[in-house]
């Protein structure tokens, strides 16, 4: 038995012993995702048990170094852990912007103090982070952001407004892009961290077409931020931001994957529409659309695996996350269109218990933001054109 085989066997045994049965059920709505944070009162006992068990082993962030709360696993071990989790249908114990976005940026650009201070709390789900990027006048053209950070000696004084701040109203801390030089567009931006409880910070949820409020407007009114909370160099925040956006795109692209095990799209379509005498979905045109979608979805799963493998080996094109984000989000939108078509009028119910409070329709509407947030599909196509295909003047 090789070391990896042994690791696989031990991992499987540990997962079987420690993953509660509730955490092996498919994710059915946003409420089933665990985000961590200071306030954990909304978590179910099983969610908390699973997050804490995985957090204690560092397996919420298996490939981060142990000294920062990670699992210290190699690329091969991380892959084995994911494979074994998939086989047992274990849910992701903790999804957070700390893990998928800030963590990698801190590992690359953070000081030793910043890493020691923030990363273990991210790994254990103790602090929930939000991302202060977009502004009312800085969407796709993010680098035109205007929120100002004035140098006051030992601290920055921050004034301005962010928008589309995901779950800012639930977040404990924010990583935020601020303008520290008005004369230089890209080289006048800095990347700072601060507590959302700092005086002068306020949030206002935005009600969306889904009836959900996943995003907020976030206001900064004379917010004092200690200078040691600057990540990377002054006026070089755009480098950190771009690095982090790559990770965000990677995370969003995962939405194209769907889960393992039962396929809710196919199960749902069979339940509503039924099979004909030949065992085919009784709506042949919808069946054809689902079948073609499934080809793309399965092929994209292979592409995701390839992309992660290339990334870990340092072989991925630096702009490949844009391709993944573009394809993954468009696929996810297509999936939800098919889910709605499969569910018919059942899926139109907005509040009923049968529809789990209108989850299918609300989730469908929510996906429409997938190709807008984190850089629109059009921006991703611009990036692919310029950086991968190297087309002129793009």
């Amino acid at each position: 038995m090789t070391d990896l085989d042994q690791f696989r066997a031990e991992t499987r045994a540990w997962l079987e012993a420690n993953c509660p049965p509730e955490m092996r059920e498919p994710i059915r709505s946003e409420k089933d995702s665990v985000w961590g944070g200071r306030d954990q009162s909304a978590m179910t006992p099983a969610q908390k048990q699973w997050m804490d068990a995985m957090g204690a082993k560092g397996w919420t962030v298996p490939d981060w170094p142990k000294e920062y709360g990670g699992g210290g696993l190699s690329a091969a071990e991380t892959k084995i852990l994911r494979e074994e989790m998939a086989k047992l249908r274990c849910r992701n114990p903790l999804s957070s912007f700390g893990i998928s976005m800030l963590g990698p940026a801190l590992l690359k650009y953070g000081t030793e103090e910043q890493k020691k201070d923030h990363l273990p709390k991210i790994a254990r789900g103790e602090i929930r982070w939000c991302q202060g990027y977009s502004e009312p006048n800085a969407g796709s053209d993010l680098a035109s952001l205007a929120t100002s950070a004035e140098d006051k000696g030992d601290h920055f004084l921050i004034n301005g407004q962010k928008v589309w701040t995901s779950y800012a109203n639930y977040a404990d801390w924010i990583f935020c892009l601020v303008r520290t030089d008005k004369t230089n567009k890209h080289n006048g931006i800095s990347f700072v961290l601060f507590d959302m409880q700092t005086p002068g910070v306020s949030t206002k949820p935005i009600l969306l077409i889904s009836g959900y409020s996943p995003f907020c407007e976030t206001f900064f009114d004379n917010v004092k931020v200690p200078k040691e909370n600057l990540v990377g160099e002054l006026n070089k925040g755009w480098d950190v931001a771009k690095y982090l956006l790559g990770h965000e795109r990677e995370m969003i692209s995962n939405m194209g994957l769907g889960g393992g095990g039962k396929n809710p799209l196919i199960e749902g379509a069979i339940a509503t529409i039924g099979l004909d005498h030949d065992g085919r979905l009784a709506d042949p045109l919808l069946r054809a659309k689902i079948a073609e979608f499934e080809v793309r979805s399965k092929a994209f799963a292979a592409q995701s695996e390839r992309f992660i493998d290339e990334l870990k080996a340092g072989r991925a094109h630096p702009a490949q996350p844009s391709m993944m984000k573009y394809y993954g989000t468009e696929l996810n939108k297509a999936r939800h269109e098919l889910l709605m078509a499969s569910g018919g009028s059942d899926n139109l119910e907005w509040e009923s218990e049968r529809s789990r409070g209108g989850a299918p329709a609300r989730d469908w509407l929510r996906t429409k933001a997938n190709s807008i947030e984190g850089g629109t599909s059009e921006v991703q196509l611009n990036i692919i054109s310029k950086r991968i295909l190297e087309l002129p003047g793009a």
Partner: protein, 376 residues
């Protein structure tokens, strides 16, 4: 599971194959064969060169004179064949026939010729214009062997092949799982009439009439009535191989098109600066990347004899069909008028893609197959 990208040896093989095929059989080689009204369908000299490179024995074990490599490596060669539109019996002979005969007495008879680049095989599987899993052609017991009666079509290289792999029915009816037997029929078997038809892409495929063709019992590949087993193995390898070749066609067309966007000027500027074209090119790139991953996944699973290979092969064939169809369509459209001319190569890519898309089941066939397997 190994990482989903080419390892060092495979990367070296790709570089070798890329240089070799581009040099020995570029698109101009295919164009010349067509213009010369070549009646063989490929260059026997090129097939010999493939053998000199070791490619013809790529899936044959080292103990039988081959390279002992796998489907990833065969796919690497096929992708270059696709990129250069090189007419070659590689897929039918070095991949499909080898996969069917492997581990049977037929290997001893046919593999030396394949390794040497002297033997060509063809697949007599299709009975209708659209690929199906049904086999209706009759094989009746006669004396010590069998008598084959019926017709096959879309038999690429069938008119010049030294050996035909023929699927026929020894029991039951056309759509039955059991009762199929696979035969290796030598070209000189009496009663066989092959009519070569030139296809859209200038390649030759035969319609073959079997008029009581008598073969010995030892012509059977595998077991009588249990031919579905070697046939399925042959088809999985052929489908993955056709996907790899198609990937090369689609990539070649895409590269040509992206280059054209960087050269062609209209309205006083390079047309590649137009966002309408940039976005379409980037979308195409994305589709092709996804197809590439699907193909490699299928090849790796085939090489690992993984039970998921069957699904992965259908995903690969369907996804490549969809992505490369977009590639050749966008190829002609973005080239504009010149793309419609025979003089320019991009049209050849569209024609070849169309043939490979049909071969061993198109995207619809494989999407349907996956749907059936998933219970809907």
């Amino acid at each position: 599971m190994m990482p989903l990208f080419l390892n060092e040896d495979q990367t070296m093989l790709r570089d070798t194959a890329r240089d070799f095929v581009a040099d020995a059989a570029p698109v101009s080689h295919m164009r010349k064969l067509r213009d010369d009204k070549d009646q063989t369908g490929f260059s026997r000299d090129l097939w010999k060169q493939f053998a000199d490179m070791g490619f013809t024995g790529i899936l044959i074990g080292e103990d039988q004179g081959g390279l002992g490599l796998g489907h990833v490596e065969a796919g690497i060669v096929l992708e270059e064949i696709g990129r250069n539109l090189s007419p070659s019996p590689f897929l039918q002979t070095a991949v499909a026939a080898v996969e069917a005969m492997k581990g049977t007495p037929h290997a001893e008879r046919w593999f030396p010729g394949i390794v040497a680049g002297e033997t060509v095989a063809a697949l007599a599987i299709d009975e209708g214009a659209k690929f199906r899993n049904s086999v209706g052609m009759k094989a009746e017991r006669a004396g010590n062997g069998f008598k084959l009666t019926g017709a096959k079509q879309f038999v690429q290289h069938g008119h010049v092949a030294d050996v035909l792999i023929v699927a026929a029915r020894t029991a039951g009816s056309a759509d039955d799982e059991n009762g199929v037997t696979l035969f290796a029929v030598p070209k000189d078997a009496a009663g066989m009439t092959a009519t070569a038809e030139r296809l859209t892409d200038a390649s030759l495929a035969a319609r073959i009439e079997f008029d009581g063709v008598e073969v010995d019992a030892d012509a059977v590949i595998g077991e009588v009535d249990a031919g579905r087993t070697p046939l399925a193995r042959l088809l999985r390898a052929s489908q993955a191989g056709a996907a790899a070749e198609m990937l090369g066609v689609g990539t070649g067309a895409m590269d040509m098109t992206v280059n054209y966007l960087k050269e062609r000027k209209q309205f006083g500027t390079l047309i590649g600066t137009f966002q309408a074209l940039q976005h379409r090119a980037s979308h195409l790139y994305s589709e092709m990347e996804v197809a590439r991953a699907a193909v490699l996944k299928a090849q790796q699973l085939l090489d690992a004899s993984d039970e998921k290979a069957d699904t992965a092969v259908s995903v690969a064939k369907a996804m490549t069909g969809l992505a490369t169809m977009l590639s050749v369509q966008e190829g002609i459209q973005m080239h504009g008028g010149i793309g419609m001319t025979d003089e320019y190569d991009i049209g050849f890519y569209m024609k070849r893609q169309r043939v490979l898309a049909e071969l061993f089941g198109d995207a619809n066939f494989h999407a349907d197959r996956l749907a059936r397997a998933a219970g809907y």
